[in-house]
Amino acid sequence: MKQFLSFVRKEFYHVLRDRKTLFILFGMPVVQILIFGFALSNEVKNSKLLVFNQAQDEASAKLINELEVSNYFEIEKVVGSYSEIHQTFKQGDIRLALIIPANFGSDLAHQNKASLQLINDASDPNTATTLNNYVNIIVQDFLAQNYPSAKLPFAILPQTRMLYNPQLQGAPNFVPGVMAMILMLICVMMTAVSIVREKENGTMEVLLVSPFKPILVILSKAFPYLLLSLVNVTSILLLSVYLLDLPIQGNIFMLYAVSTLFIITCLSIGILISVLTNSQQVAMLISLMGMMLPALLFSGFMFPIENMPLPLQVISNIVPSKWYYIMVKGIMIKGLGISSLLKETAVLVFITTVVLIISIKKFKIRLA
């Protein structure tokens, strides 16, 4: 035990004294969360909106206010005629125009129905559709709050509810994805490289010629990365809760338990790579090409697995990050309990066991 602790302490010295690696280790999750949270977002925010309010009553003022405080729209211009609307569109300043008819408020109050006109700049059709949806949701909210008995002029009104993520934010999707990616990268690559480095430097030679059990060498190498990865999980969660306003719906301890399981899976893959390779470059290449790419492609975080050809769907089953992604999403976003995630847990435990058994079988107690 004392030997193990001394080994772990040595490993921490290595990590903490290598400033560049340390920076990457702790900087990467923060940078990725920030990039995904603020730069690579498919949400459309602060779209420029033009308003032609012919009603000028209390109801229309309220609706415009709702739109303005929603964060999705920014009122660029208020006009008084149709011709001005087309002119502004041609100048390219606005994405959307909202026209409120003259007796909007009284129609709503007396006939329980009213109409609105939306004019979209559909040169980017996806954005136009998204903006339409935003307006629809806001208008429905406005109606539900102020005129519970009112109906929009639709014969059938579909009552859509966006479960778990009513505002269709990006964060609930990418936070679990980034967690899976970061942990995969750190655990697999860092462990593999740090063990292979001992081989390259010749220190493995000295360690092998010692009473220290070879398998303990490997385990004590993996242990610090387990702790560091848990620190990373914490920093990602803190960022997503406090910066991206994404609350954790499920049990936080379960989230950590699941993350620990996934980290152990990744560490065992890293160990396997280190057992099979003899140079840091090869270990790094295998970790990057063999792990990062599948983690990105097959976790379901960037590309839906359901759309892939069947063989790829089958392959995706052996990618641990897919299962972890499902679990984190389940716990964090949907607030599921462990009983709903038994299958995913079992798969990860199975992968870990198989990989560890192969690594132990393949581990060399000698040099060649």
């Binding site: 001394s6 010295y13 030679e205 010629v209 009473p211 220290f212 040099l367």
Partner: protein, 303 residues
């Protein structure tokens, strides 16, 4: 009991079946300082790795501290100290941290065996907070020796410990080995430097994976069957060529500023050779009989 005993050890590498170690047999008595002397690529490191249980032999058998290197590798690993040819400590750990780490890995403490490393460690102590990677070559080797010694091994394996170390540090290093030997530790050391051979109790001259000769340094020198002369003159290169092509010389080879010459015993003498060379036009000739060194023995054995 022998500290190390190798019988017909053999190691073959790769698909081409390159023979690195070919039926090597030798034995190291307890408390003996035994040197494996040979040039790079002679198979020294392969022998060391087999004896330290890092490589499996392809033939033959060996024992260290009476234990079989294949069967009892776990027990052997507790009892031997090994210093690989390449600097193999943690460059980003300080001197003290390296030493502490290796002490703990071997289940001991610096204090417990401090008497073994004291002489060496006092020289390192001023740098104990310096990262190992920032030490000079000689200091690195001293630290590596400390780390290999910290668990009081019965047999110490030092693979080319003085390669890349300045002459003064080399001398110091060998003095330390003598002191360790006095403490009863058996030492197997390899080196490409022939001048270090004389400092061993017993040496094995090795080349191309084969042992050419095993004996004490003195006996090896005494075994030199011929008279050996050192020859000097102007234009050494041409002189060497002329000597080798003449009928009087068995073998002549460059050796520092001299050419070492072995004469053909029955038909020639140094005067005959000198006459011949001056007739050939060489001036400032100087020739004297010398005592052969280990290197001369090695060169003779190679022929």
């Amino acid at each position: 009991m022998f500290a190390v005993e190798a019988k017909e050890l053999r190691k073959v590498y790769g698909k081409e079946k390159t023979v690195a170690v070919d039926a090597v047999s030798f034995s190291v008595k307890e408390g003996e300082l035994f040197g494996l002397i040979g040039p790079d690529g002679a198979g020294k490191t392969s022998i060391f790795r087999m004896l330290t249980t890092l490589l499996l032999p392809d033939g033959g058998a060996a024992s260290v501290a009476g234990l079989d290197i294949v069967k009892d590798y776990k027990e052997i690993r507790k009892r031997l100290g090994y210093m690989p040819g390449k600097f193999s400590l943690y460059a980003d750990l300080t001197v003290e941290e390296n030493l502490n780490f290796f002490a703990t890995v071997f289940g001991t403490t610096i204090e417990e065996n401090y008497h073994l490393i004291k002489d060496i460690y006092v020289q390192l102590a001023p740098f104990k907070n310096r990262r190992a990677g920032k030490l000079s070559g000689g200091m690195k080797q001293k630290l590596a020796l400390c780390c290999a010694l910290i668990h009081k091994p019965e047999v110490l394996f030092l693979d080319e410990p003085t390669t890349g170390v300045d002459p003064v540090s080399r001398k110091e290093f060998w003095e330390m080995l003598k002191r360790l030997k006095a403490q009863g530790i058996s030492i197997l050391v390899s080196t490409p430097y022939m001048d270090e051979a004389a400092l061993c109790d017993k040496i094995a001259l090795i080349q191309g994976g084969k042992i050419l000769s095993i004996d004490t340094p003195n006996a090896i020198v005494e075994d030199f069957p011929n008279k050996l002369f050192a020859l000097k003159g102007d234009s050494m290169y041409l002189l060497l060529q002329a000597a080798n092509t003449s009928n009087f010389v068995e073998h002549a080879y460059a050796f520092g500023e001299y050419a070492h010459v072995i004469l053909k015993d029955n038909i020639s003498s140094e005067d005959l050779l000198l006459d011949y060379l001056s007739q050939e036009g060489f001036g400032a000739l100087e020739m004297k009989q010398i005592v052969p060194s280990i290197e001369d023995c090695f060169i003779r054995l190679l022929r």
